[in-house]
Symmetry: C2
Subunit: 230 residues, 2 copies
């Protein structure tokens, strides 16, 4: 079934959410969870939870639920998280770049920032995050990608920098890009790009404020808050 | 039609993307754009673009396209962006909080950071972003929300801080929360919450790396990269 191979992006995002919750359950010694409980705790529809997990094979016993450990291990495999993924940040001298370079949350979940790049000479050579080494000039990207086995680039550059950065990124040999810059980068056959626009998040909240101002009241479920893809 | 009232969250997100592109077209003096052009430029399906816009009434003339200015103005109204929306950051002393307090992208798109909060005494009273005033203790949140007409709270707090912060946030009088903390906050009838987990974005890229490693090749469209909700 082709469907099994290509779950929607929203399902992949929810796998992360399930994983986080399952890890905390495992820490608490919980052995089994039903899709209904998983759904309630995460404010999702139980049918949605079952549908998400069904993309990846059959888990869980009817009437019993899922083994927390097995389901967690399986999601880790699906998401390719058994191994550490190496990350580099481009635009590391900027505020968001610095914040992400020092963000401890990535490493907790098996992503390691292994190199920092910028094109600003006042930043190059300085140390922003000890484990990532000194900030390097973007020229060195292809070499470092190979040497340090970088798999994911995080872009935190201003819009006007894209022209000087694009070719470096697309030809660097990495296969995945997380783009925080305020323009939409498009995936190619070789490079998967996810775009995160922080202002888009605020605009989407503004939409809900506008609805409330207009007296249109819709329930949180119907808001589609979690991008259930429905 | 109930459907007109409740477009999926993915549609709302795309409205932001359309808006950004339409603004740049308007700056370039472009008057009219077809849904096909809009779709090509943004790597979306033309049918998807037409469907998104149809939620909000009829735009565009068959065979001619959309008026850039009219469509842009209409999306601004839909998203409630005619007015400045006031924002406060909780956890402003942390790295991400500081980065967002100084992020100039928000103001360009009509969101103004008007207050900063923390519970760490070493940060309270200091000035991180001049226009947002000195960092305040979280105790002052309800008062300041009223005085400065704060509509959106941005949470950049560590997971363990949620217990001491949750009631303040939910009872503060704001109607919208953008949560960057690594746990899922659930919307209530009074407060819409969007959760942004930066690690989830990396995990979802890791999934695509894993697919490539397994030799499973799926086209970027089919990846559902942009959460088209399909």
């Amino acid at each position: 079934m082709a469907k099994k191979l290509v779950p929607p992006q929203a399902t992949i995002r929810r796998l992360s959410v399930y994983l986080r919750y399952l890890s905390s359950l495992e820490n608490d010694g919980v052995k089994v969870i039903s899709s209904a409980d998983l759904a309630t705790r995460l404010a999702l529809n139980p049918a949605q939870v079952r549908k998400d997990l069904a993309y990846f094979g059959e888990f869980g016993k009817r009437g019993v639920g899922y083994s927390v450990k097995k389901l967690r291990d399986h999601i880790i495999k699906i998401l390719g998280l058994q191994q550490v993924r190496s990350v580099a940040i481009i635009g590391a001298g900027g505020r968001l770049g610095r914040a992400l370079a020092l963000y401890t949350g990535f490493e907790k979940r098996n992503f390691k920032v292994k190199a920092l790049f910028d094109i600003d000479n006042s930043v190059i050579g300085t140390t922003l995050a000890p484990e990532a080494g000194a900030v390097l000039h973007l020229d060195e990207l292809p070499k470092i990608v190979k040497e340090r086995n970088i798999e994911i680039l995080i872009l935190t550059i201003p819009a006007e920098a894209i022209k000087s950065v694009y070719d470096y990124v697309m030809l660097s040999g990495v296969k995945a890009v997380l783009n925080f810059a305020p323009f939409k980068l498009i995936s190619t056959e070789d490079v998967v790009v996810h775009n995160v626009d922080l202002t888009t998040e605020l605009e989407s909240l503004s939409y809900h404020l506008r609805l409330k101002e207009s007296g249109i009241d819709i329930s949180p479920e119907e808001n589609g808050i979690d991008d259930t893809g429905s």
